[in-house]
């Protein structure tokens, strides 16, 4: 049985609800542009290949010094990037396009193959060379899809970004990349190629597609209101909507309409539920592991949620200390993973921050509803607020010492002085020419 998402994946661009797209602020027709890109690619490629042939022939006749370099296809002709939120049809449009042009798609999920070697192995063969069969049988042209480009954790030393750039320069086939969000580490890639900003579908379109699917599945019991609710929850994420529909459909047999509520795909709600589940129901390491595996909450944040909400669920000091012992170790390990790319340490991190936190406690689990809160606090080094910054600058005009000294040594004194009386506050603020916001910083304590 195929999941509905696969079952109803559009076979052709014509049967697709096309998302709107923009290139550097201008609306474009995504399907037409992509088609044009693929056609242009092969045109340019043919030209480049022919010229290279001549160059090679030329190079054979002259001494090494006078040889010319072979031409490369310009990067903006070789690859494009689709950027937009998950589930709006980026991958689908690529498959539909390939189907229309009768091409074969070679897909790689960049988040599976994190290292340079793995990526190279998978892609280089297909891009650089043509198999021997290609000369005998007329095979389909290929289209390379690099999905989830933003899932690549790359820096220039180890990452896959240089490999991708290299790949773009050497490719024999058009490359389409998909990405969810702008990543600073990929900026060198963004500069080279054209970027389509793909926008989510409107709710009415989503509902139209959903109704279509329901009709094909022969389901009539779904209310219009429920459909709207689902569409609203997913905010244009069509894949999410279809998944929800299937989920509800499988629960609907029991006539359980409340299933709707639990199927919300809203990510903060999901975290709330997950945190409660983790602290209140999990009893074994395996359960904890299953819970964190199942959720697609970003683990970058999940362990911060655990830290923030820990005292809500664990009350005795000794148990808090035990939990934090493991959590702090998890944080240390996570730091090493991120700094040195020791991805093999990731399992320890998972076990320590989830299971390691809830299992050592000997006190009975808390019962009933507890309020789960956002991780409010991030101690991000020395970042100052805007008001603080301008205050520091004003002080520096009069008293030339470093920012750190002002914050840690001078500002506390200024606060005490200003607190002592209104008159002092006025003297100081007149002297430093403070505005209302900066005064607030001085008064706050």
């Amino acid at each position: 049985m195929l999941p509905w998402v696969e079952k109803y994946r559009p076979k052709s661009i014509k049967e697709m609800a096309l998302p709107t797209a923009k290139v550097s602020g201008h609306n474009v027709d995504l399907a037409e542009d992509l088609k044009k890109f693929v056609r242009d690619f092969f045109k340019v490629m043919r030209k480049v290949n022919e010229e290279n042939k001549q160059i090679r022939a030329h190079n054979r006749t002259v001494p090494e010094k006078e040889q010319k370099d072979e031409l490369e296809i310009p990067p903006d002709k070789a690859a494009v990037l689709l950027e937009g939120p998950p589930g709006i049809g980026k991958t689908s449009i690529v498959y539909a396009l390939a189907n229309d042009l009768s091409m074969e798609v070679i897909e790689t999920n960049a988040s599976d193959t994190r290292t340079r070697d793995a990526l190279e192995r998978k892609l280089k063969e297909t891009t650089k060379s043509r198999g021997i069969m290609d000369f005998i049988v007329q095979t389909k042209e290929k289209l390379i899809l690099i999905d989830e480009v933003d899932g690549i954790y790359g820096n220039n030393d180890r990452g896959a970004v240089p490999t991708i750039i290299n790949l773009i320069q050497k490719t024999q086939f058009p490359i389409i990349m998909c990405s969810n969000e702008y990543k600073q580490s990929l900026s060198s890639l963004y500069n080279k190629i054209r970027k389509f900003e793909v926008h989510p579908l409107s709710n009415t379109e989503v509902i139209k597609i959903a109704k279509n699917i329901l009709r094909k599945e022969g389901i009539k019991s779904m209310h219009e209101d429920d459909l709207e609710l689902i569409a609203e929850k997913n905010r244009g994420d069509l894949r999410g909507v279809i998944n929800d529909l299937q989920g509800i459909n499988q629960g609907m047999d029991k006539g359980d309409i409340e299933l709707l509520g639990s199927l919300r795909r809203d990510s903060t709600e999901e975290i709330f539920a997950l945190i409660r589940e983790l602290f209140q129901n999990v009893a074994t390491l395996r359960e904890a592991r299953e819970l964190t595996d199942k959720s697609d909450v970003d683990y970058n944040f999940l362990y911060k949620w655990v830290s923030e909400n820990l005292p809500t669920f664990i009350k005795q000091n000794e148990n808090i200390a035990n939990a934090y012992e493991n959590l702090s170790l998890a944080d240390q390990i996570f730091g090493r993973i991120r700094k040195n790319m020791y991805w093999s340490l990731l399992p320890y991190f998972y076990d320590l921050f989830a299971g390691g936190v809830v299992i050592p406690g000997k006190e009975p689990k808390t019962q009933g509803f507890r309020r789960v809160v956002f991780p409010r606090f991030s101690a991000s080094g020395r970042s100052l607020s805007i008001a603080e910054k301008s205050l520091v600058e004003k002080i520096q005009e009069k008293y030339d010492v470093s920012q750190t000294e002002i914050i840690q040594d001078f500002l506390p004194f200024l606060r005490i002085i200003c607190e002592s009386s209104r008159k002092q506050l006025k003297i100081m603020s007149d002297w430093l020419e403070l505005d209302a916001k900066e005064k607030k910083v001085v008064k706050k304590n």
Binding site: Y303, K304, S307, P311, N317, E318, I320, A321, A323, Y324, E325, L327, S328, L329, D331, Q332, I333, F334, G335, R336, R338, K339, F377, S378, A379, G381, R382, S383, L384, K398, Y399, V401, S402, Q403, T404, I407, Q408, D409, F410, P412, F413, L414, I416, I417, S420, S421, Q424, I427, M428, W431, N445
Partner: protein, 348 residues
């Protein structure tokens, strides 16, 4: 007459080397240097907040005379680079492929700090008739491995720019750097000159000091003159007569006591409360984790607790500091330490 400066510590900042309170020996040596018109790289060593930078600044000002502004720069080694500066550093120097040698086609990288903050200054020729430029690097020991980069710099550009390295811990500086510098140990101001300075201020501000007040002030401020002056100003707000009581009362308000109260709250065993307090401290003083743990450590040594407990707490703090070195989230490491302190409180 310029406008009246309401902050005494700025008002009574020494204007030239003679005004510096105490430290006659060092000042004499520096004055001799100015007379000769030449000096090697210098290193100023001394504990926190006793005026190393002030002395270094005044020294370079008097040495360079009217060319001071163009040829002087003060750099803080422990302030992180801004986003813009980091990007600037990323643009590596590219050696053309046409060049001969193994470096051809390579990108040269150098530590961002040196590239952005040091090199542009030392490379350019001294302006005007000044014999050379003067660069002060504060908190030099925090540079860590980047110190290595200074070895060549100090030799290559030594004739163009002399450096004054300022540090609190000479043990944190690698030997090759120390051997390239002339050392100046800057000590605390002696009590006699401290007394003179305070009496002078008291006269100017028409304060009446009781006996012993100066002694106590000297002790409380731990040699940090700016702090002593701060305290004096604070006391003067309530009255021109300053006695022991007002001194003690006002000294209670000072910064370090917030970290102390953090320890005390933790040792009462209320985890939620002390976590809140720790967050407040971090957001107010912008400590990074290491600075906070260092503050805690000094406070632990002052607490009236048993030897056993003190050892235990120091062990915990060191452990937390070590983990925070690798960790991504300061808050988690601080909370971990606090939760352990809360447990410890039950056995005290």
């Amino acid at each position: 007459m310029t406008e009246e400066i309401p902050v005494w510590r700025i008002k009574y900042l020494p204007k030239n080397l003679e005004d510096v309170c105490g430290r006659e020996k060092v000042i004499k040596r520096l004055k001799e240097t100015i007379k000769q018109g030449n000096f090697p790289h210098l290193m100023f060593v001394g504990s926190e907040g006793i005026g190393k930078t002030t002395i270094a600044q005044l020294f370079s000002k008097e040495f360079l005379g009217k060319y001071y502004t163009a040829n002087f720069r003060l750099v803080h080694a422990n302030i992180p680079l801004t986003e813009q500066e980091r990007n600037q550093a990323k643009a590596g120097t590219y050696i053309s492929k046409s060049k001969i040698g193994s470096q051809a086609g390579r990108r040269i990288t150098m530590p961002a700090f040196i590239k952005v903050k040091i090199k542009p200054f030392v490379q350019l020729k001294a302006f005007g008739d000044a014999p050379f430029k003067v660069l002060i690097v504060k908190n030099f020991e925090t540079l860590g491995p980047n110190q290595q980069g200074f070895r060549r710099l100090m030799e290559t550009y030594g004739s163009n720019c002399r450096m004054i390295l300022i540090t609190t811990k000479i043990s944190g500086i690698i030997d090759p750097i120390v051997s390239r510098c002339q050392l100046f140990l800057i000590s605390q101001a002696e009590f006699s000159s401290f007394k003179k300075l305070i009496e002078d201020i008291a006269k100017k501000e028409s304060l009446v000091l009781e006996d012993n007040v100066i002694d106590i002030l000297y002790k409380i401020s731990e040699g940090k003159i700016s702090r002593a002056i701060d305290l004096l100003q604070l006391c003067s707000i309530t009255g021109k007569n300053i006695d022991m009581n007002s001194l003690y009362e006002n000294s209670q308000k000072f910064q370090k006591d917030l970290t102390r109260s953090l320890l005390l709250v933790a040792l009462k065993g209320d985890f939620n409360k002390c976590r809140e307090l720790s967050r407040k401290i971090i957001s107010t003083y912008k400590y990074n984790s290491h600075e906070l743990f260092a503050e805690l450590l000094t406070e632990v040594n002052k607490l009236p607790i048993s030897k056993f407990a003190r050892c235990k707490i120091i062990e915990m703090v060191s452990n937390a500091d070590y983990r925070a070195l690798d960790g991504m989230d300061t808050d988690i490491q601080v909370s971990a330490l606090l939760s352990k302190l809360c447990v410890l409180s039950e056995s005290l």
